[in-house]
Symmetry: C2
Subunit: 245 residues, 2 copies
Amino acid sequence: MKSDASPLAVKLGTFMPLSQGELRCLADVQSSNFTVLRGEQFVHQGETCHTTFIVQSGWGCSSKVLPDGGRQIITFPVAGDLVGIRSILLRAADHSVTAVTDVVVSKVEMPRMLEIFKDFPHLGTAILWAMSRDEAMVVEHLASIGRRSAIERAAHFFLELCDRLKLVGLVPDGKFHCPLTQYDLADALGLSAIHVNRVMRKLRELDLLTVKEHMVTIHDERALKDLAGYDNPEDGAVLIRDQEL
Amino acid sequence: MKSDASPLAVKLGTFMPLSQGELRCLADVQSSNFTVLRGEQFVHQGETCHTTFIVQSGWGCSSKVLPDGGRQIITFPVAGDLVGIRSILLRAADHSVTAVTDVVVSKVEMPRMLEIFKDFPHLGTAILWAMSRDEAMVVEHLASIGRRSAIERAAHFFLELCDRLKLVGLVPDGKFHCPLTQYDLADALGLSAIHVNRVMRKLRELDLLTVKEHMVTIHDERALKDLAGYDNPEDGAVLIRDQEL
DNA sequence: CGACGCTTTGACACAACTCAACAACCGTGG
DNA sequence: CCACGGTTGTTGAGTTGTGTCAAAGCGTCG
């Protein structure tokens, strides 16, 4: 793994080796970046969006706004994540994406994406794998909100987040930066912000996890996983071996 | 639309015209069916599954079992739905699929599926569209459980179900058959079965919807949609025009 | 006939929401 | 420099939606 590889290349490379040509293709497609400022929205629910964004750095927030004004956050895209790729075949995006912090992204238009799938099928498979993995996480999120208690949801959320950040090297010393407010967490977990606060206090009192100045520290991973009912994603989300394709 | 077309062909045909060759390919892949008996499981969470099933008739139940024994139902596959296609690139299925009624399915192994994508790219796109649409429904389901009240969830669920069944011609006279028990509904909506019963009574008392002998009748669609905060899926899930590809 | 699965109802408990208030922190502008 | 409003975090008190437990009714099927 080269130190100057993009987060997406690092992530895909974790699961299948990438050739020089494929790495060049990835580098090429991410050669021009731009910054979305904190708070700005760059995918708009209900509007046409035949563009995918590759997150280079920063945190996004993919959410769905209900007619009554409620907001449900689907996921928080971070470095290495593909954003909006599901909407490529739909007439309109079914969700919005906003920048939680300043976010650096690369833009990939649909024709270019289709080219990649055609010219680099192996790389295309890796991208499909990442998409399948993302969808599996949405399903897990669904199960979490539907069937776990508030504290279990919170525990599960941070464990999954930690694993995602590890994939792209953002958990250097066992703790990680997390710019989310308790309001963001509330809309992700299907709770009220006030209840999130109480739950976080509980996790702190149980010596499982603390958040201080937007740094998350997991103190007792084993106990936290037991509380959350957390399965290692490796158990399920691993790409099948090449020869099986 | 030919009367003997498979539900999948009907569904895909609703959104893009299919050529004779494509229809033949679809017919060919669905030429051998078999029945899964009521209650039997045909995709097993945690096990390898490089097979997709196309539902011909009957109702399935795609669910995820949590470590604590809780069950969250993701969706109920019906005629024309593809089952397990997400797991094709993952080492193990992240969910289980069970037959709610006897289900007739066609089995498509991964290599065959990849062939279709290669030989009939236009058809492949239609399949990808169906997958995107399914994922959008999972996202909507997530928002529903996270941010809607019990009665709104139930209302939304039946409206979406109705639209899905209409797509394959299973809502002939404004009402439709639904073999689900209140336990099934509970696990889908993230509620207890007892509360589902209370909510269904409420919907009946409001003259919005009744279920009698597994037939669902919507009495006041407008009011039900207002209650649920329901957007027509056509607004978002329509396939882009061919020339845009 | 009895056993079983599903629905329905009531009484009660509790998890999570709402409202209200305050503290800490921030950037901004006077 | 400090005053200020806005955002975020924290806590308490009271309410409510939903879960749990228990029991009965009612089909169906063996």
